[in-house]
Amino acid sequence: MAHAAWRYVRRNLSLVVGIVLLGLLALFVGIGHLVVDTNKSRPLSAPAIRPPSADHPFGTDRQGRDLLATMVAGTPLTLRIGFIAGFLGVGIGSILGFVSAYYRGAVDSIIRGIVDIGLTVPGLLVLIIIAVSLRKGLTVDQMALIVASLAWLNPARTVRAQVLSMRERGYVEVARLSGMSGPEIIVKELMPNLLPYLAATLVNAVSAAILASIGLEVLGLGPIDSPTLGMTLYWVNFNAALINGWWWWWTAPIAIILVVFLGLFFLTVGLDEIANPRLRRVI
């Protein structure tokens, strides 16, 4: 059994590395919630600007937040934004992708037009305009919805491309001639082959959503009082932590963000390899 497991690991190295990284993160947050008192992540709950010490392993920031508590509380919030926006994006995107690729006609050209133009427009700027307009106290979930508003563009494009190529295959025609209806063909014939691609697209969308949300937060457009990773970086920049040499203040969020992105990246590569084995030789 061990040999087979080892062979599987060797074949899908990227996938395993991705899962391990995200597993570590989940462990950190899980144990953190048990061990650390997360409401210490609120301002004035600890002496300000303390380098990492016994009672504050990650040190404290200028507003008196215990950074370990902030990380333990903030990471799940950022991930939540990523997952909500990612799932919404892929959900809407794949439905639109499916419909436009399978039913073609005017619907297809409209969706294709929106997607092509939408992707050339820099997403962050549009999100800024939206966030600025909504200005009154954003919550984490509202943040997710804002990011989701553009997160569906890329999934729509990739799913449409996949379905278009599959649709020409013979087995869709045979299914139709065997009496299967349109939706049935989508679910029974196209969907199973699409799952690996969908999974890779989902992980991509989550990663892009997290990046967008952190970007907005760093610009100060995030949920001001929540301890998400992006907001922590905003305060780092706001208080010029770099220049003042408070290195511990930004190392923690950056380390965690790195683990998040590397984990998701390896996961995408791993899933891509499963989606089309030919890629396997490339890595």
Binding site: R169, G170, Y171, E173, V174, A175, R176, L177, S178, G179, M180, E189, P192, N193
Partner: protein, 338 residues
Amino acid sequence: MTTLLEARHATRIFGGGLFDRTATLALDDFSLAIDADRPAITGVVGESGSGKTTLARVLLGLTAPTTGQILYQSQDLQTMSRQGWRRFRRDVQVIFQDPYGVYNPFYRVDHMLTTPVAKFGLATSRAKARELIDDVLRAVGLRPEETLGRFPHQLSGGQRQRIMVARALLLSPRVILADEPVSMVDASLRATILASLSTMNRDRGISIVYITHDLATAYQISDTIVVLYRGSVAEIGDVELVVKQPRHPYTQLLLSSIPLASPERTWLTAKEPVPVAAADRSDTGCKFAARCPSVAPPCREAAPPLFQTDPARAVACYLYRDAPSASGDHSEPGRSSR
């Protein structure tokens, strides 16, 4: 003569939309009738780009003709009721060309057979369904235990194509449309599959439309042959007449180009190769004019209609304009002319 499946002046144009000026005429005023009473094998022969596949898709109702009608039991497909379509889908089956693209890699090959059984309710119980499937597999020369339960990539192209034939057989159809069924299969297996097609026609009374680029296989199993050139019928008639005494210059060119597997060396003539005229897609006149050795002025003005040169053969060529013109609307091959 009651017709089973019939194309009446079917034409299909691709492109030609708002921006796309290059409209391609895939099928041009094509008429063909499959006889309901005497199931026969009709061979449709044509080069690539002659509209063979478009014809198959139009007859299957997968693509609607731009003008003209496709009738099944004298009902137009466009206006047929849902009930009518279900019957049409069951009675008219297909064998596709590519044994690799026709199988969904996600499922085992059984999926190709179990789906029609379920969808058309061919069997009351699972055992009955399995029995039905085993029969058709044996009918095409495959052993069920060696074939079922396998994934497509575990079977050879020949085996997969035979499963496709079995699938068509499963629904005991009245017509089978075979679009290049053996062109991607090895020579040794080609004969076996074509033989099973002709036994299906002979024993089970299934009319077959055999679409191919290979005139020799068409000759071997067809009763009637339609020679297609860029979407329109060049010559149509009894297979012996058309192959042994070809009338249309294009049919003659086709026959002379086939290298025969015999010791006599007649194929490689030493004459200078015919200068390949750029295929000018002139709209008016006979489409073959540009390449025709006996082209004449009338050929360039208008496309020649079908002339009934023999009781069982019609040719679309002005060389035979003194013959009575075949009944344009409804040319039944193999029937004595009125």
